[in-house]
């Protein structure tokens, strides 16, 4: 077994300092002279066998021996000895540090966060890092961040460790492990160390190819937080606002919840949360104009996680849904006329189709260029799908459809007759569509009959057959289908319901085209952002809960709030065992990871003790050694 060793054996030359030490000791030993009447007694004393015993000789030269001991301690400290705690030398060890929202939970009032505890343990590892060992620090929340390469540079590792901060987002262990796996292709290793509170799904879709040392941190204290915050359009034109309060397994007690509208408190409720139960609160908010809501939860007892106590919700102004349907699609226009709060274009008195819409339903490809968050193309294959799907004339029929898709809910498509024949071209398949981010909603005999695509610009549905050449308009489900399309459009436009913004990525922001802005995060950092030609800014990272201010030339232009809103993170659940693919399970380690123990601090301390003893013995104790 390898018990330990020295990191810096090159300092052995320091042992040569013993020679000058001994030399100087005897040269310097110029004793003061003291005249006494006679040396008779002293001669006899010094000739006594007891005085000349080895121990007495040792005591006589105690000063020299103490100095040699002190020098040896210093030299051995310079050699940087260490006590081997873990496996042998020359190992690479990636260290994954969870920095998701739940890691910010405190263990007690005024205590330390889980991340601080993880940092402490990793810092111990760094302190005990020997020359042959290399660490690679990786932090992960919903995305992994490689902080350092494999290195034994303690300064670099400590700096990187200090940079790890809590991100108020759920963790994604799978992504982190994939990064580590990719890392192992260039620099192989045997073991990966994971420091986490275990707040992630128990099953991870990952083929584990290395040993995972899962160091689960001690559980945090009780926690209550807001896990959902949304609003639905009320009949009277206002909004019904809902907030969900959940907590950790053993959380209970009274909380007060205050609702702010545009900064003004409009409601305050005090509720009692029972252990293991959630509480749902409802508020009525007037909402003709766009408004901003903030809900603030204040537990009366200790709450270990503060980031989940606030949620933000932006409500749009109340208006009818703007829908564009060409006059040729009579069936759709007829179906839409029966739905309230619809403004249909082109109107019967005008062919004006300018401006933006919330929903475009058209059988003309050029209409797909209209600005709308929701589009439904009818009877043609979108241009980007034409490489994989072609339109035949032999007719088709429905094989299956996604009954759970919101668009097809309560729509019966069985035995529907379709005269068009959308079919895959040779060597094309559903995978090609998925690569383009399309999802097949209705499967036909030779290919997809309906697809859906969701991106930052909105959602696009495409009926690859023309409904006028099918029996769909004659079916009872057709008005329901159109109603579903309208509901989807209202959701996209935010007119039917509004969901609170979650941390991670801010929702797309509509600003001035090509405008240059700065965004100030809750942690007061400022980043530059640029709107595209349509004035949309998307993909803005929101790692912390709080308000994000969009500044233009230093002046605030808009403010968007983002909250954690994650039941998983709020629950502070901790997974004992991680289930990987192929029935591979990794349980939380029961013993802390053993680190190499540097001995030089102890040696320096021993040297200091020797020095203090020497000082005390020769300066403060005239009587000598009793």
């Amino acid at each position: 077994m390898n018990w330990g060793g020295f990191q810096s054996l090159s300092h052995l030359w320091l042992l040569s300092l013993l020679a000058p030490l001994v030399l100087f000791y005897f040269l310097k030993l110029k004793r003061p002279r003291a005249e006494i009447p006679s040396l008779v007694l002293w001669r006899q004393v010094l000739q006594d066998q007891r005085v000349n015993s080895p121990f007495q000789k040792f005591k006589r030269n105690l000063l020299l021996l103490l100095q040699i001991l002190l020098l040896l301690f210093l030299i051995f400290a310079a050699l940087q000895p260490f006590w081997r705690g873990g496996p042998g030398k020359n190992r690479r060890l990636p260290v994954l540090v969870d920095c998701s929202a739940s890691m910010g939970a405190l263990d007690k009032s005024g205590g330390v966060s889980r991340l601080a505890e993880a940092k402490r343990r990793v810092r111990e590892m760094i302190d005990g890092l020997t020359a042959g060992d290399q660490l690679c620090l990786i932090s992960f929340d919903n995305t992994p961040h490689k902080l350092t390469g494999f290195t034994n540079n303690k300064g670099l590792l400590r700096d990187a460790l200090e940079q790890i901060e809590i991100a108020d987002v759920p963790s994604d262990l799978e992504q982190a492990l994939r990064l580590v796996q990719a890392l192992g292709r260039s620099e192989p290793f045997d073991e990966v160390l994971l420091f986490s509170d275990g707040n992630f799904p128990p099953r991870v879709n990952f083929d584990l190819s290395f040993k995972l040392n899962y160091q689960r941190l001690a559980p945090a204290g009780v926690n209550l937080g807001v896990t959902a915050f949304n609003a639905q359009r009320a009949v009277a034109g206002g909004w019904d606002v809902f907030a969900q309060i959940e907590g950790s397994a053993d959380a209970e007690g009274n909380v007060s919840m205050e609702l702010f509208q545009d900064g003004n408190s409009i409601a305050n409720e005090r509720v009692t949360i029972a252990r293991g139960h959630a509480q749902r609160l409802e508020f009525q908010v007037k909402g003709e104009q766009a408004t901003s809501l903030r809900v603030q939860l204040t537990p009366e007892g200790f709450d270990s996680l503060a980031s989940d106590n606030t949620a933000y919700l932006d409500l749009p102004e109340s208006r009818p849904l703007r829908v564009f349907v060409p006059r040729t699609l009579v069936t759709y226009r007829l179906a839409l006329q029966g739905i309230q709060d619809i403004q249909l274009f082109p109107q019967t008195t005008s062919d004006d189709a300018s401006g933006s819409f919330d929903l475009v339903i058209s059988d003309r490809p050029q209409d797909m260029n209209l600005v709308a968050r929701t589009k439904l193309s009818v009877g043609f294959v979108p241009e980007e799908l034409q490489r994989f799907v072609e339109l035949g004339t032999n007719g088709s029929s429905v094989v299956d459809w996604r009954r759970d898709a919101p668009l097809l809910q309560h729509v019966q498509l069985a035995d529907m007759v379709v005269l068009d024949e959308p079919r895959f071209v040779q060597n094309a398949g559903e995978g090609d569509l998925e690569n383009l981010n399309y999802e097949v909603l209705i499967h036909g005999r030779g290919g997809p009959l309906m697809v859906r695509k969701q991106d930052a610009d909105g959602v696009r549905f495409a009926l690859l057959f023309h409904t006028d050449r099918s029996t769909l308009p004659y079916r009872v489900g057709f008005p329901i289908f159109v109603e579903n399309v309208v509901q989807a459009a209202m959701q996209q436009a935010g007119l039917a319901e509004a969901l609170a913004n979650k941390t991670g990525v801010l929702p797309p922001l509509t600003l001035a085209p090509n405008g240059k802005y700065q965004i100030q995060t809750p942690s007061q950092t400022v980043e530059a952002i640029t709107a595209d030609e349509r004035g949309i800014v998307s993909g803005v990272a929101a790692p912390r809960a709080g308000y994000y201010s969009i500044l233009e030339n230093g002046a605030q232009r808009r403010r968007v709030g983002a909250g954690l809103l994650s039941p998983t993170e709020t629950s502070l659940n901790s997974v004992d065992q991680i289930q990987f693919n192929e029935q591979l399970q990794v349980a939380a380690a029961t013993i802390a990871v053993k680190t190499d123990w540097p001995l030089w601090p102890a040696l320096l301390m021993a040297g200091l003790c020797v020095m203090l003893f020497e000082w005390w013995f020769f300066q403060k104790k005239p009587g000598g050694w009793k």
Binding site: R33, A34, I36, S38, W42, D48, R50, V51, G624
Partner: protein, 301 residues
């Protein structure tokens, strides 16, 4: 009426009050060692003193002057009267005046004690002689034997003139003393007894010469309780030899052990030769030694 002027100090060695008290004291040797010459000490043998001792039968040749004629008249038989013989006692004072005695007031005390013994000897009509040893190679300074109070000033002058110098070892000083001295009595040796020499031999010679050894060891406080706090190089005041020692409690304990051992050896050395021995500190007042310690130990009465 004017107060009486204080009496002038007779000597610097002893106060006048101590001198007054010494006048009433005498030296008490353990044995009766006297010289054959006539003196004031009864020898235990028949002599011609005035003090009657015993009767014995007359034998032919006896001096008829000592026949008790009154008894002859009553008993018609001649008996001879016997008388005690009174012999003189020698008091030899040996002052160790080597350089080692200079420190800590040892020599001053030694001189005072020697003077006290000398006074007691002179006032009791004993034959007092004094010696002060300095150099090993030279003969000791000497006050020839004298008797009677008229020699007090001579004794004081001699003792007051003793200075500490030289490296005379005590054993050599005793042997040198015996080369000049004759007569039985006591020999008061005042010294620190810190010598490398063989005291046993010199004490045997001293005993053989008829002198009871009265050893008074005077040690300074520094010798009784050395106050050494650091590593030192000790220098012998007589020989200037050096010795390096380190501050150590064990060492001090051993020193005390050896000092006590030396005191015990010297006590035995004296006692086996019908003598006495005592160790005193140089800081002890001479009156305390004379009128307390020596009287209690029976050295003087």
């Amino acid at each position: 009426m004017q107060p009486l002027a204080p009496k002038p100090q007779m000597t610097t060695l002893l106060s006048n009050s101590a001198l007054d008290r010494l006048r009433r004291l005498r030296i008490c040797p353990a044995g009766k060692r006297t010289s054959r010459s006539r003196g004031e000490h009864l020898s235990g043998k028949g002599g011609t003193s005035t003090e009657f001792c015993d009767y014995r039968d007359y034998v032919s040749g006896d001096d008829t002057r000592f026949v008790d004629w009154n008894i002859f008249a009553r008993l018609n038989r001649p008996y001879l009267k016997q008388f005690h013989k009174e012999e003189e006692r020698n008091v030899v004072l040996l002052i160790d005046a080597s350089a080692s005695m200079k420190s800590g007031g040892k020599l001053e005390l030694a001189k005072s004690l020697a003077a006290a013994f000398g006074i007691m000897g002179l006032l009791n009509n004993e034959r007092v002689s004094a010696y002060a040893s300095h150099q090993a190679t030279d003969a000791p300074d000497r006050l020839p034997p004298c008797r009677g109070r008229m020699n007090l000033r001579k004794l004081f002058q001699f003792i007051e003139g003793v200075e500490g110098r030289g490296d005379a070892p005590l054993d050599r000083a005793i042997e040198s003393l015996l080369r000049h001295h004759s007569g039985r009595g006591v020999c008061v040796i005042v010294s620190d007894f810190l010598t490398f020499g063989d005291l046993k031999r010199s004490f045997n010679i001293l005993y053989a010469a008829g002198l009871e050894p009265f050893g008074i060891q005077i040690l300074s406080p520094q010798e009784i309780e050395p106050d050494i706090t650091t590593d030192l190089r000790l220098v012998d005041s007589e020989t200037e030899d050096t010795l390096d020692i380190s501050s150590s409690a064990d060492l001090f304990a051993l020193y005390q052990e050896y000092r006590q051992g030396l005191e015990n050896d010297l006590t035995l050395l004296c006692q086996r030769r019908q003598g006495r021995f005592m160790s005193v500190s140089s800081t002890t007042p001479v009156e305390t030694i004379l009128f307390d310690q020596l009287r209690r130990k029976g050295w003087i009465e």
